[in-house]
């Protein structure tokens, strides 16, 4: 995470790849301008370098807000948090949110893990809201007495 505060963007900054490339970095810290064919051929780039950074998703969230799309902005903020979560675990978390896949305790644990391990409070809030609705609509898994899950 950069120490300087993120810049205030307006819709005129879009597309960032053309108008504000200096703001764009890979999660490994390379500027987007470093993603060249020479770097591919010389083996300097890995697939990890072609991922989006959480800071970039926050910038896109600003643009979504600036264009009056608060829900889209909220999605990008959840996404920014999720960049820290490994692929397999993202999928496991998604599966845990399916109907009757998790008990109330498991969803509470998932929310706590999102918040504690991954610093993902916005995602955690979504999971807690789901847990409350699932309880009311009979969509929780029934706890198994001797389960160690």
């Amino acid at each position: 995470m950069s120490a300087s505060p993120p810049p205030e963007l307006t819709t005129a900054d879009y597309p960032l790849s053309i108008n504000r490339p200096e703001l764009l970095h890979t999660p490994s810290g390379k500027p987007i301008t470093a993603l060249t064919m020479d770097a591919v051929v010389s083996g300097e780039l890995s697939a990890e370098d072609l991922r989006i950074a959480p800071e970039t998703l926050q910038l896109q969230a600003q643009l979504a807000d600036a264009s009056n799309r608060p829900q889209l902005a909220a999605n990008f903020r959840r996404a920014a948090e999720m960049t820290a979560i490994p692929d397999d675990e993202v999928l496991a978390m998604y599966n845990a949110l399916r109907p009757r896949a998790s008990t109330a305790a498991q969803l509470a644990e998932l929310a706590a893990r999102l918040e504690g391990t991954y610093g993902a409070p916005v995602c955690a809030a979504l999971v807690r809201e789901a847990a409350e609705v699932y309880a009311r609509r009979d969509l929780l898994a029934r706890p198994v007495a001797d389960s160690d899950q």
Partner: protein, 570 residues
């Protein structure tokens, strides 16, 4: 079965005209009476709720006649996430006729409509669009489409899952103008090879075309994460709680998935459509359009940028009831009027009648949508693994002619034969190089020759399917990514194709394609509702087919020269 003798009654004599009408293709289509109690009704049902909304303490506590205690999860999600609480009571109290007029009034801007639509309940939205006839729906769509410039999406699949065919047809489709190309499989295990073929072929045809492989959620996401595909759209949502649960999802699981895609820089839209709930057996006695409006608002609430709707694979259901295609046009309008990208159907064969197939597309093609077809079959329908589209390769020249006749931009263009053959040949060669680089089963010169001139999968030498499936598995096992495809292309001298693909991959680092209605232009400019907002404000404004693009669309296979009637131009 019975052996009892049947009473013999002479069949009443039919007129010769009736015999001709009986033989018309339209009479092979299925039509049924409405059955509102079961939800078999397009958009006019006395069982749909009346609009209402009540806000207390910053929270919606009543929605369309239900109080919060009685909300199902769709109500809850829509109340919590989709509807603007601050303006909900004021907007929902506005006369529906006034809102409907705003939708068609060129003096009212798109933004002014959005300021109202974001505060509307599902039943209120239904009440508004119920007032509109199909021409008014089209007028509304012309203004409310999010991106100013319309586009089109193609299907590139193969009945044999033949990757060489998919690459060649993707190249041709990209050249003809599709901004997005989608594939899927007969044999799912073929997916990695076919998705690679689609990506390589698309980047040969026109750099910047976005590709997708429709699969179950986990594999689709994985191919996206690896950069083998560029976007996703088969993320289905449903308008009743019971059917949503049958689909093994909830609005919260799908919202989580939406953020997961964005977290990997991958463009994504949801999919829904009229008729899915009644087809899946639980419409809870509501009209198809009311349930679809719930889906649209759920998508809005999830923060996904767009939606594929327009009945999609359920088109036979609204297509069979009175006013069904009006409802389908209305659902596209609703997606656009709540500011979602709309990939507007026309992607499933539903009628034997060529006239009816064409008519079905007019409410999207004439006003323009973000993607007029969310899958025009850019392969012959026999090769279309989405069970056939409303249009296929045989219709290319008709489509181009209709664009020219009406001066409308349906996203495609006529391309000269020599250019098409060159692109198909190059796509097959580029894929040959990538397969060699990745040590996948080789592509022969015979296959390249076939790909250059083929129409369908029948025109290609048969592949060694077992070897291919092993290869496909090894793509997954070895963790092959889009970057490996770039390396393979570059090392074999396909420098331009490699650059095209690298540029597409680089886009995910910028996140620009995550914004509403984003596509990549031929010069790799992200074009979305932010930098290409629909500014329609009446005659002479908004997107106009003119200039260089109009000159392109004037060209057809056969156009007689005005200066020398003995020759053709083009």
């Amino acid at each position: 079965m019975t052996t009892a003798p049947r009473p013999t009654t002479a069949a009443p004599r039919q007129s010769l005209r009736t015999e001709i009408l009986e033989a018309r293709p339209v009479n092979l289509d299925g039509f049924v009476e409405e059955w509102p109690e079961k939800g078999l009704v397009a958009m006019e049902s006395e069982f749909d709720p009346a609009p209402s909304v009540r806000v207390e303490g910053g929270q919606i506590v009543e929605l369309d006649g239900r109080s919060r205690d009685d909300f199902d999860f769709m109500d809850t999600f829509i109340a919590n996430h989709a509807i603007d609480v601050e303006s909900a009571e004021r907007c929902t109290a506005m006369p529906s006729a006034q809102i409907a007029r705003m939708l068609i009034d060129p003096g009212v801007s798109r933004d002014e409509v959005l300021a109202v639509s974001r505060g509307l309940t599902p039943a209120k939205v239904l009440d508004v669009v119920k007032l509109m006839n199909v021409v008014e729906i089209m007028q509304g769509m012309q203004k409310m489409r999010a991106r100013r410039t319309p586009a089109n999406q193609g299907h590139s699949t193969s009945a044999r899952d033949n990757p060489i065919q998919v690459a060649a047809d993707a190249a041709e489709g990209a050249l003809r103008g599709f901004a997005e190309l989608e594939t899927t499989l007969g044999v799912l295990r073929y997916a990695p090879m076919v998705a690679i073929a689609l990506q390589v072929g698309a980047q040969v045809g026109r750099g910047g075309v976005l590709t997708q492989c429709a699969l179950e959620e986990a594999t689709e996401l994985e191919l996206g994460m690896r950069g083998i595909t560029a976007y996703a759209e088969t993320i289905s949502i449903y308008g009743t709680e019971s059917v949503f649960i049958d689909g093994d999802d909830t609005p919260w699981s799908k919202s989580f998935l939406a953020a997961a895609y964005a977290s990997r820089g991958i463009k994504m839209r949801f999919t829904s459509g009229t008729g899915s709930e009644v087809q899946m057996g639980n419409a809870e006695g509501k009209s198809m359009l009311y349930l679809e409006i719930r889906c649209i608002l759920m998508a809005k609430g999830a923060g996904v940028q767009g939606l594929q709707n327009g009945s999609i694979s359920c088109i036979g259901v609204p297509g069979a009831v009175p006013g069904g295609l009006r409802a389908v046009a209305a659902e596209n309008l609703v997606a656009s009027m709540v500011d979602l990208e709309c990939a507007s159907g026309n992607d499933q064969s539903f009628s034997h009648s060529a006239m009816r197939r064409t008519a079905r597309a007019m409410p999207q093609m004439l006003p323009g949508t973000d993607f007029v077809c969310s899958g025009y079959s850019s392969v012959p329908n026999a090769d279309n693994m989405f069970a056939g589209s409303n249009f296929d390769t045989e219709d290319f020249d008709d489509w181009n002619t209709i664009q020219r006749d009406f001066q409308v931009d349906g996203g495609l263009r006529h391309v000269r034969e020599d250019e098409i053959l060159a692109a198909r040949n190059k796509a097959a060669r580029a894929l040959q190089a990538v397969f060699a680089h990745l040590e996948l089963p080789p592509i022969t010169e015979d296959e390249i020759e076939a790909a250059t001139y083929a129409n369908s999968s029948n025109d290609y030498p048969l592949r060694d399917v077992l070897a291919d499936l092993k290869g496909a598995q090894s793509v997954m096992d070895r963790g092959i990514t889009g970057l490996d495809l770039v390396k393979g292309l570059e090392s074999a001298g396909f420098h331009d194709v490699a650059e095209n693909l690298l540029t597409v991959l680089r886009q995910r680092v910028s996140g620009d394609l995550l914004q509403t209605s984003a596509v990549l232009t031929g010069d790799f400019t992200p074009l979305s509702a932010i930098n290409d907002p629909n500014d329609y404000a009446g005659p002479g404004t908004g997107y106009r087919l003119q200039g260089e693009r109009w000159e392109q669309l004037k060209k057809l296979r056969h156009v007689t020269s005005s200066t020398n009637p003995e020759t053709e131009v083009g």
